[in-house]
Symmetry: C2
Subunit: 506 residues, 2 copies
């Protein structure tokens, strides 16, 4: 076979695997949105069957042979130097997923999956009963499996690096420490300062906001931000998410609370940020593994940027508030855009990560990162974890959880063995602001565009610099390419300081 024939075959196999992944995504979307309650049992078997089929596709020995024939190896994943750059990037992505999938023995995968199911069930019980001891042995098992996997993936020395690398290709403890250390210092200082100031007025945010009205406003806003309606949907689910069911089928969800205008609305903006990324891949990458986000952190950079940097900015609400006030004239009578903006940016330390504001959020992540690092380095035992959690919580946020349910048991991630995942959330904040700093140099009057609802201006910039590339670059390469710098916390800190100093009279 010629190189082109080898490549064509590789793309064809990959396309099938993408289809399997998308089919699985549809089943999971349906499970969160429309599945009749009694349908759960069959659905879990259907999803397991699909996941097995996808795994079969991803570990197809023919993939390995084709990658090898095109010169792609673990050491040189980009393969044959005479190929087009896009094809070489494709080889790199496939080499990594193939190696990750094939170097684990089937027994290990099966045993880990079984343990995970038990662990998740135990976590649900432990959280409900506020009893960490119920979960502790399962957590230990999850850590042991993750360590084993990381070692098999070649991360002998610092297994935790193997887990970081799973979500952010090329990311290591050293890099993150370099970024998180100043971030932690600045954020704790900022949080402490803000805590001494008078909290923002925000009672008008919790009035009666009829859900159908929220929905209409949210859908209009989603479209205004650039969500292409023929290529996607908005539905309701208990936990908002974005999923890709096909190249032109990107679905987001939200949830509305009848006595809270912000939650449903900002979920829509956040998920729209994810969706705009998925909708913006170069059509040439259609149906391939390159039509994907560069990493979880880069994905989160897009969603958080639309949610916080754009969606919680003064120009945004100067433009949008009159429309919101038109729709909710009773609830927002006498409120100014400026007052609404203040309410939207209420900052205060809290115990629960998912409820945290944009200043304190990253501290919740740093806490989890520090504990994961110590757990995997053998410096912290599972038994001591709750105490360590609470101590660090006091250190970072000045609060002590009264129960483990609102402390160490609050997140589902560890029960699923998803270690090394949390840092991506905070990295997303940093990546986003570093990109935004560059955007502002290119488009100095960006605030005017946002004020006048010209969201196609920032979207066009992100499409061009980030979205269209898909997964061609590794996250660190992408940040470097877009911003000319390695990831750092400077832009994020500067942004927060500039934004919150006037808001809280710092």
């Amino acid at each position: 076979m010629s190189k082109q024939e080898l490549l064509d075959r590789l793309y064809a196999l990959d396309r099938q695997n993408r289809h399997w992944a998308h089919i699985s995504a549809l089943l999971q979307w349906d499970q969160e949105t429309y599945l009749p309650p009694a349908g759960v049992e069959d659905r879990s078997e259907q999803v397991a069957l699909l996941e097995a089929r996808l795994h079969e596709g991803q570990t197809n020995p023919e993939l390995g042979r084709l990658l090898g024939a095109l010169g792609s190896t673990a050491k040189n994943p980009l393969g044959d130097e005479t190929l087009q750059p896009v094809d070489r990037n494709f080889l790199r992505v496939l080499r990594k997923s193939y190696d990750r999938a094939t170097c684990l023995p089937a027994e290990l995968v099966t045993a880990a999956a079984k343990a995970e199911a038990l662990s998740q069930a135990a976590w649900v019980q432990a959280r409900k009963q506020n009893n960490f001891a119920l979960f502790a042995p399962h957590l230990q098992t999850m850590i042991d499996f993750a360590k084993q996997k990381a070692r098999l993936w070649g991360f002998e020395e610092v297994p935790y690096n193997g887990l970081l690398d799973l979500h952010e290709s090329g990311m290591t403890v050293d890099t993150i420490d370099g970024v998180f250390t100043p971030l932690r210092r600045e954020l704790t200082a900022l949080t402490r300062k803000i805590a001494t100031r008078r909290p923002a007025e925000r009672d008008f945010l919790d009035r009666d906001y009829p859900v159908d009205q929220q929905d209409q406003f949210g859908r209009d806003l989603m479209k205004a931000l650039g969500f292409e309606v023929p290529r996607g949907r908005l539905d309701l689910s208990a936990h908002p998410f974005t999923t890709t069911v096909g190249s032109d089928d990107i679905r987001i969800t939200t949830r509305y609370f009848p006595k809270n205008i912000l939650s449903g609305l900002f979920s829509i903006i956040h998920e729209t940020g994810h969706a705009l990324y998925e909708m913006g891949f170069d059509p040439k990458l259609r149906g391939t593994s390159l039509a994907d986000g560069a990493s979880m952190g880069i994905h989160e950079s897009q969603s958080r940027l639309w949610e916080n940097v754009i969606g919680r900015s003064l120009p945004f609400w100067e433009g949008q508030f009159p429309r919101l006030q038109d729709r909710f004239s009773e609830q927002l009578k006498g409120i100014s855009a400026q007052a609404f903006y203040r309410g939207v940016n209420d900052v205060h330390p809290s115990l629960i990560r998912v409820d945290a504001d944009e200043v304190t959020y990253s501290l919740h992540i740093i806490l989890r990162y520090e504990l994961e690092k110590r757990l995997f380095a053998g410096e912290l035992s599972v038994q001591d974890l709750p105490r360590a959690w609470n101590a660090l919580m006091v250190e970072l946020l000045g609060l002590e959880p009264e129960t483990d349910a609102e402390g160490v048991l609050q997140d589902v991630h560890w029960s699923m063995g998803a270690f090394g995942y949390f840092p991506s959330y905070a990295l997303g904040n940093l990546y986003g602001l570093q990109m935004w700093e560059t955007l502002k140099k290119d488009i100095p009057d960006i605030d005017d565009h946002i004020r006048s609802g010209r969201f196609d201006v920032p979207l066009g910039w992100f499409r061009d610099r980030v979205h269209r590339l898909g997964a061609q670059l590794l996250p660190l390469e992408l940040i470097e390419a877009v911003t000319g710098k390695a990831p750092g916390s400077g832009a994020f800190i500067e942004y927060l300081t500039k934004k919150y100093s006037p808001l809280y009279d710092l």
Copy 2:
């Protein structure tokens, strides 16, 4: 392996195939309900991939070996006589689907699928342009493929029997002729008589009926009929249908017209009839190929029975009309239950099958059956088909289509190669009334139960006699077991005569 081990393995393989079929059903349900318009292209590839995977499962040589090892052959599909009856019925169902799937050469299947895609596209154009000539060569190809398949399935002498047998196991031209001949005579006579009478008042059915109000009434009714909400859903689609996505996940759809109260409502009742069947299989059959309808005709017997025999009866509306009138008090002011019942049972010959009433409907079917029979016997050429259609339309219904679009081109079935499918619709009517005749002997006061909304009474009877059995009996065996007689048209004719004589003063 012991017999039990062979059986267990067979059930396990079958269960996987059922999962693939259900996954495919979900993708198709989504396509008709929620799929974003731009998602169609990927979706068709996903469905094709799943269908290929299902076909792979159905033709798995291991299935053939297991069936053989359990004594199931083409001649003796029930297999080993020492097995339990339910397992023997299971072997019979699997033997048939395995043989049907494996005895066609792969090239034939591929060629037919390609031709079908072209044929469907040509039919869409032909209908739009009212130009039969555009479709004729494709129809010829579809007939040729169907004949070829029927011969390979072993129906050398009367290939059309092979197509009938596909939808109604064991059904032949001889059997249907015996049933349809008196049916045709009686129905044409009845239709002619009714046509001479004054049509029923029905203008109140076409007033403004807000869709959300229709939906609320429809959902309440669906539950009242016995639809188990935790095990299913009701959604909207362009064409109403029922689909099974899992053992406890049965979904129906309807569509509402804002100026027509009947269409949406009777679609719900019809589809609920299908759903009640699917919800009623013995839990012991769960996840197996026996958890399925006995045939398409038996399925249709259930839907049409709930729609027509129950849903268009006087006792039904004596019970339900007050609730309907409460909800639509303006639209139905001064209308009595009796008048509503008359309007609901408006009978008149028409050109379009899907709009036909319960008296004339079967004549539309007989027309198609007669033409299919002649086409496959070589007594009618595709070229002469439109003329033959129109002539028979005049003979049976006294109407002549002015265009082929409202004549021979009206249905999608032939363009897909679905020959032998239409008779099941009319057989459903006959099966249903033959069962109903038996039910009335068992429950003489059934009208009182229906009047008082005790739909659990007929449902209980059908669950016990029909639903729980699933696909264990062939349709003819089932009718015999339930009614003690072979299928015939007597009960149906008697029902129509009794019902319409007073309505039209015959």
